[in-house]
Amino acid sequence: MIELRGVTVGYDPRAAGAARAGRPAAPPVLDAVDLVLEEGELVLVAGRTGVGKSTLLGVLSGLVPRFTGGRLSGSVLADGVDVTATPPRERTHLVGYVGQDPAAGFVTDTVEEELAYGMEQLGLPPTTMRRRVEETLDLLGVADLRDRDLRTLSGGQQQRVAIGSVLAMHPRFLVLDEPTSALDPTAAEEVLATLTRLVHDVGLGVVVAEHRLERVVPFADRMVLVAGGGAVRVGEPAAVLRDAGDDQPAPPIVELGRALGWSPLPLTVREARRRARGLDLTPPAEVPAPPAAARAEVRRLVVARGARTVLDEVSLTLGAGRTTALMGRNGAGKSTLLWTLQGASPGTRHGGTVRVAGADGGLVDPEDLPRDERWRRVGMVPQTAADLLYLETVAEECAAADEGAGTTPGACRDLLDAMVPGVPDDRHPRDLSEGQRLALVLAIVLVAEPDLLLLDEPTRGLDYPAKRVLARVLAQQTAAGRAVLVATHDVEFTALAADTVVVLGDGEVVSDGPVRRVVAESPSFAPQVTKVLGAGWLGVDEVVAARAGAAR
């Protein structure tokens, strides 16, 4: 049992730049938090971005304040013993922690060595280590990967190896920070199934912080909602979600339940389906998309990397004024297709044509565009959006973008303000929230007014409101006649933002069509509302509108 008693964490305003910039002292991130965690239950930590979820996890693992700065008061008790001052390395028997990017925490380079590393530090006898490594390999289902180089594993595999590497030290609690945010729906379910198994079979206490509530809520025994202002609310997920305000994150299924006045709130698709039987609503009619001029055309494209075919005869058209979502599991070739459209040739093209809108309105091969001027025609936001940023303040970044694109000074800043108003000029880009940073990168890319906009996994680390903002921004872009292509794992975001969906499987186009039809066809890509109400439905707002129409 771990108990937090009156835990307060604040970041000293004198140490950070707040005092220099004349801002008022920041309120504590966690304010007198009391929390009891028991073994054998899965606890979900939810809340908006930057509200203190990671800080709460850090208090449990001991990384806060050692690795983050700040000041911690109150006490952390393990079975009544005060461990507040115990560093993470002395808590290994108590808490195993897996960070946001598991690959960044890997110390060795093969799976087996990684699993053994922690036990080596504990000085366990070799025979015990050998036995535990084998057990852990089996428990996490990674036995066939034992000799693999960690860098060559897929995201889901890396996540499971990272879990195994702390599990081998036999901690009593497992603390995970966004374990599924980088994973495709199937890999995310594998990881969650593994976690559930650890809770049920091994009796471990598991604490998970996650933005994608729709994935974790069905598995959670209890929920800790970090509500902002330092307060937390703890309880059964249904109760916490029912009492939470509209500004707090909630999965679509809960929003649906709230909109329809269901009580108790359903948390799983199965429960919601049962409740929805009585509903008699007609799904919104599918409006055929008007024909649009092509902003990009890919015909029978084959791209290989070494001897491996990454894209196999891919054909697709991106029409002006349309948002296309590119889906498919990790490794299906989504990023490769995006970079090929941008012209950066991440592999060798073995045939087919790629054409994007050129300067004169016609279509050109992006590889024929001048290498350092492609951003004029094709705007792209890569997976790690921060790679584009290199200056110290938001204002400098905007000015540099204006100067480079040759637009009127202030154009970039205006774009940024239109997306997220009120980003301070003097803020360092690294200090922005995920959503603000993404908006800044988007503004820099959009300054050149490209006809085609490509985004690679933009929703990672975004909470529901930030995703809604992004969807609105993309809608504005398509309204201006641009074509948008978004590679994403996020089915709820696809339902929210996309007009058409292209699903890649092993480098080939598996399905291609209007979002309503494609998500109804494949269960793993269906958003929750479709799962509950059946084909034809995408979002909660549609249900609300249909209900209002029926009432009239």
Partner: protein, 376 residues
């Protein structure tokens, strides 16, 4: 037992290094070109037969080019600066007079056979040394080698392992940022574009190192040792005494006028005390090792074959100086003993088990999470 050595497995890296250093010692004890060529061929054969398919396994090729360059440079320098050798003149070149400041060095001049051969033999010896080191690099897994350091030096080993992993990560990160910076409009200029690349790469490296430090800490790295103050004092005293002994001993060995009892005995004594210090420090490290590389028959044979080469070459240089250091004008000859000294290293190629093949090559990376794409 002989069948177990035939199964593919990675030989203990220390065995390969002992073998390679033995061969290198043998090469440094002779200027006989035939013997040197034999040593080079032995390393090449062993590498060809026993290297794995890891990234470092391709290192030997680099060393071959380096060796060729060394030989060529050596000969060319002799021709350029080597005037003044008497002997059979091959080519008459005009001698360029140099100012008095560089007295004793002449440019060009008559090229004699002795001069060129001397350069060639010298270059061959250096090349053979290089190739021995190259063979060890290609054959021994550097990470497993670092894992074999004594427990007291564990921290140093850990730092080196992390440093080795950081280099490819930095390369990935630089490639990613370079691609990303092309996606945005921005001012040009050499200084500015350098900044555009460096700032994100360094930020990334810093973030990674913090994440790695956190990752190591939560897995128990740097746990308190439970040594008493007395233990710590004893270890410290042993280390300091040992190092003092080594320093004095080394000085005495190099300075011929120092009393002899200060030389080898002091050096060995100092080393022994230092080893004791390391053992004492290691005994209180509460760490264990998962599946350490074991010394088996094959390791012993490989290491012994390298040592044998060194011992035989030393015998040759003592008993048959004319074979070890042949006259430059005469055709060099090999004795049975010298041939044995050269060829005994080949035992390693036969005794070592075949390498484990099938490691995956490093993929081309565009995005940080692109490895997921590559892996699947």
């Amino acid at each position: 037992m002989s069948t177990t050595t035939r199964l593919p497995r990675d030989l203990h890296p220390v065995a390969w290094w002992v073998w390679a250093l033995g061969l290198a010692a043998a090469a440094s004890l002779t200027a006989n070109p035939l013997l040197l060529v034999v040593v080079v061929l032995v390393t090449a054969t062993t590498v060809a037969l026993r290297r794995g398919d890891h990234p470092w396994s391709r290192a030997y090729r680099v060393y071959v080019w380096l060796a060729v360059v060394v030989v060529v440079v050596r000969v060319v320098l002799r021709v350029l600066l080597g005037g003044g050798y008497d002997g059979t003149v091959l080519l008459r070149l005009p001698e360029v007079p140099l100012p008095d400041v560089v007295l004793g060095i002449s440019l060009l001049g008559d090229v004699t056979a002795e001069n060129v051969l001397g350069g060639l033999y010298d270059g061959l010896r250096l090349a053979a040394l290089l190739l021995c080191v190259g063979a060890a690099n290609a054959l021994a897994n550097p990470k497993r080698l670092l894992k074999s350091v004594p427990p007291a030096l564990y921290e140093v080993g850990a730092v080196l392992v992390v440093a080795i992993t950081v280099v490819p990560q930095l390369a990935d990160s630089a490639r990613r940022v370079h691609a990303a910076q092309r996606l945005r409009p921005g001012p040009r200029g050499r200084v500015r574009s350098l900044r555009r690349l460096l700032v994100p790469v360094l930020e990334d490296a810093l973030e990674r190192s913090l994440a790695l430090a956190a990752g190591m800490d939560v897995r128990g790295y740097g746990r308190r040792g439970d040594a008493s103050a007395a233990q710590r004092r004893r270890t410290g005293a042993l280390m300091v005494l040992g190092l003092l002994g080594v320093v004095v001993g080394t000085y005495a060995v190099l300075d011929a006028t120092a009393p002899r009892w200060l030389a080898l005995p002091m050096l060995l004594g100092g080393l022994a005390v230092a080893v004791l210090g390391l053992l004492s420090a290691g005994s209180r490290v509460g760490r264990s090792r998962y599946r350490p590389d074991r010394w088996r028959a094959a390791e012993v044979v490989v290491a012994l074959s390298g040592l044998a080469a060194a011992v035989l070459a030393w015998l040759v240089s003592r008993e048959q100086p004319l074979i070890a250091y042949p006259e430059l004008v005469a055709v060099p000859q090999l004795s049975l003993l010298a041939l044995a000294a050269g060829l005994v290293g080949l035992v390693a190629a036969v005794a070592a088990p075949p390498p484990v093949l099938g490691a995956t090559p490093a993929p081309f990376l565009v995005g940080r999470r692109d490895r997921e794409e590559v892996a699947a």
